[in-house]
Structure formats: structure tokens, C-alpha cells
């Protein structure tokens, strides 16, 4: 069992990522992405924030109506800020990015839906987060390992 497909018995993983997270990863982490995923596009037993389909629908609507008071935007800003704070970036870059995240307009959180080919990823890169039954993480995903289903 050397790849994730063999380990989980699923060919694909799915995730929903906000544009700003992708953009920051492109600029500061050499287009290496820290992403969660589920093996179904609509995992019923996961929470909304770990369900790619629900999250996409929610963010699509939030950005369409520019709902800047929505709690999901606050949650995503907090998650992005925590990710940046605990990264290997310099303090100067961390401060710059924290400011950028705090001031980001709602459209910066427009969602992308990704499909991950689990055949291509070594099982040693899989993290089982443990909160929901179908939620995993890969911390060093690259472009060649994903397909953007909805940009």
C-alpha cells in the first residue's frame, strides 16, 4: 500500500479552497498547498466546513452577495492567519500577510473546487485529522496532483 488510493480504497479526493489561500501559497510557498480533502464530494457525516460541496455552495453565495458579515469569512480569515503564523515564513512576511488577510475583500474568498488524484500521492503524505470520518490532509500538494473542477 504505497499510495493513498490503495490505503483509502478511493481513487479521488475532493476539496474546496478559497482563492486567497491558493494565491498566498502560489506567492509564498512555491505553489505547494496545505489542503484538507474528503473522498466524496458530499460527505454526509462531515461538518459543513469539511464538506467540499456545501462549502463551495456557501462561499459562492457569500461572495456573490458580498456578505462581509458572514461567520464563514471570519472563520477562513482565522484559519489562514493561523496557517501563516505557524509557517516557516519570516516575521516580516507573516506581518505583511496577516495585514493582507485582515483587509481582504469578500471576493478574495471565492471558492475553487479541486479533485485530487490519490493514485499519485504516497501514503506517507496522508494525515488523518480525526475530527470527521472522511476528512484528511495533505500538506504539500502540488498543481500536477490536482484538477480544478470549478475555478
Amino acid at each position: 500500500m504505497s499510495n493513498i488510493e490503495q490505503h483509502l480504497g478511493k481513487r479521488f479526493g475532493y476539496t474546496c479552497q478559497p482563492w486567497l489561500a491558493i494565491d498566498i501559497a502560489d506567492r509564498h510557498f512555491a505553489a505547494t498547498y496545505r489542503v484538507w480533502f474528503s473522498t466524496s464530494i458530499n460527505p454526509q457525516q462531515n461538518g459543513s466546513s469539511s464538506n467540499p460541496l456545501i462549502l463551495f455552495q456557501e462561499l459562492d453565495r457569500i461572495t456573490y452577495i458580498n456578505d462581509f458579515n458572514h461567520s464563514r469569512i471570519d472563520q477562513l480569515k482565522t484559519r489562514l492567519a493561523n496557517w501563516i503564523s505557524g509557517s516557516a515564513l519570516t516575521s516580516g512576511d507573516v506581518a505583511d500577510l496577516l495585514a493582507e488577510i485582515a483587509a481582504a475583500p469578500v471576493p478574495a474568498f471565492r471558492p475553487q473546487l479541486w479533485k485530487i488524484d490519490l493514485r499519485n500521492i504516497h501514503v506517507s503524505r496522508l494525515i488523518n485529522l480525526g475530527q470527521f470520518p472522511d476528512e484528511y490532509q495533505v500538506r504539500d500538494l502540488i498543481r500536477a496532483e490536482i484538477e480544478v473542477l470549478v475555478p
Binding site: D23, S85, G86, G92, V94, D96, A99, I101, A104, Q137
Partner: protein, 266 residues
């Protein structure tokens, strides 16, 4: 203020998160709690002469105190969450302040000549600001549903003006002001920078270059200098300061685009 102060505060928030929500902590970082403690201490040493040092030390002490002494798990989680959220929010507030004062210029990403600039440059910038604001206010007379935000900072760049609708879902309009637009190269570069600054604002965003003195020749041909896919969303606005009007009806196309967008949405 040092960037290390911002970083230390954010890490204290992250350390609190590690205690009350370990799964979310693992989502966020590969650091262990021990490594995180070392990082925080290292940053604190570097900012011990800063005015915020006392506050930072108090936050760390409070975190340790809650970890050691809290009576129930629920109360402990509540207090740790409160520390986490307040530290992160304060870090972000300080980061905005840091960036507005010593941010991009301090990292050498922009002009790098400000400190030695002669007085006359300041006067020219002042005129720049004045004409920008006059032009935008004239535009708002025809687009009353918008409000203007000047010198909007976003992604290491400053956009001269962002127009956003007050109530409805009209598209955002990003505006850069150029006093003179005399060469093709200058026009092309101005549009390129504006489009770059607009990345992340959504596909309906409109772009405008506001200028007070374009060459007649360029006015007829500027659109050829804009990438084809952006032509429908890009506008050259030529503002006549003396008349307080847009010459050659240059704003009409933009206003029409906004109205058309709203009709399609309706």
C-alpha cells in the same frame, strides 16, 4: 514596532489554540507545542526593548496560568479560546498598522527614493491627489450608488481609488490616476499594473485609468493596448479639471457598463 511583535502575538494565539482545539491546530501547522514555545521565547527576546513587550509577556503568563490552574475543562477551553482569538485579532490590527507605516517600502518593494525626495515631488503628489479626488467625485455624480475609498491597500499594492456599491450588487471599480498619458508604453504599463492589482476582486470588476492629459492620438487607440479579454471591463477616463467634466464622453462607456451589468443581474 517590529514585525516580530506581530509574529509573537500571533504565535501566542496559535499556542492557545493548540490547547483548546488540537485538531484545528494540526490543520494549521506542523509545529509541535514545544517548538512553538521555543519560537515564542526567541521572538520575545528580540523585542524586549519594545513598548509592547510587557503586554506580550502578560499574554504568555496568562496562557500558562490558565493551563495550570483552571478549574474545569469547559472554563479552561473558554479562557484559552478567548486568549487565542484576542491575540490573533490584535496581531492582525498591529500588522495593518505595521504595514501602513513601514510595510512595503521597508521591504524595498516600491520606489525606495521617498526619504530623499525633493520638496517639489511632494507638491506634485499633492496635485495628483487633488485631481484624483476631483475626477472621482465627478464620476460619483453619475454613479450615486457608489462610495469611494482612496489609497486602498491590498496585496502589497496601493490602489488609488476603489469604488464599491453602497447597497446593491454592482461591480467594484478600481481606479488608478495618471497625470499624463503621453506614450503607448506608459498606457500599457498603467493598465498592466491596474489589472495586476485587481487580481482577486472577482470577474465582474471594472478597471479605469483616470487621466487629465491624454494625447489625442492615444485616446483613439488605447484600447489596442489592453488584453482582449479585459477590454470590455477596462476604461480610459479623461478628466478636464477646468470644466469639471469628462472630455469626449469618456465616462459614458463605464457608466453604461455598470447599468448594463445591473440590468443583467436584475
Amino acid at each position: 514596532m517590529k514585525a516580530e511583535t506581530v509574529h509573537a502575538l500571533a504565535l501566542i494565539g496559535l499556542r492557545a489554540l493548540a490547547e483548546y482545539d488540537p485538531i484545528e491546530f494540526r490543520r494549521s501547522t506542523d509545529l509541535s507545542k514545544g517548538h512553538l514555545d521555543d519560537l515564542i521565547e526567541g521572538l520575545l527576546e528580540g523585542v524586549h526593548d519594545e513598548v509592547d513587550f510587557g503586554d506580550l509577556r502578560r499574554e504568555v503568563d496568562q496562557l500558562r496560568s490558565v493551563e495550570r490552574e483552571s478549574q474545569s475543562q469547559v472554563a479552561s477551553a473558554f479562557l484559552l479560546r478567548q486568549i487565542s482569538v484576542s491575540c490573533l485579532e490584535r496581531a492582525q490590527a498591529l500588522a495593518i498598522h505595521y504595514r501602513s507605516t513601514i510595510g512595503p517600502f521597508a521591504h524595498g518593494e516600491s520606489l525606495g527614493v521617498q526619504e530623499n525626495a525633493p520638496v517639489s515631488v511632494d507638491q506634485r503628489l499633492s496635485k495628483h491627489e487633488e485631481n484624483l479626488r476631483l475626477g472621482v467625485m465627478r464620476l460619483l455624480r453619475d454613479l450615486p450608488e457608489y462610495s469611494a475609498m482612496f489609497n486602498y491597500r491590498w496585496r502589497h499594492r496601493e490602489i488609488d481609488c476603489v469604488l464599491r456599491p453602497v447597497y446593491d450588487g454592482s461591480p467594484a471599480i478600481l481606479i488608478e490616476f495618471k497625470q499624463k498619458m503621453q506614450s503607448e508604453q506608459r498606457v500599457r504599463e498603467a493598465f498592466r499594473r491596474l489589472h495586476q492589482a485587481g487580481a482577486g476582486w472577482g470577474k465582474s470588476t471594472l478597471f479605469g485609468i483616470l487621466t487629465t492629459s491624454p494625447s489625442e492620438e492615444l485616446f483613439d487607440s488605447w484600447m489596442k493596448l489592453v488584453p482582449v479579454k479585459l477590454r470590455q471591463r477596462t476604461f480610459l477616463l479623461t478628466y478636464d479639471v477646468e470644466q469639471n467634466e469628462f472630455s469626449r464622453q469618456s465616462a459614458s462607456r463605464l457608466i453604461h457598463a455598470v447599468r448594463q451589468f445591473n440590468e443583467e443581474q436584475a
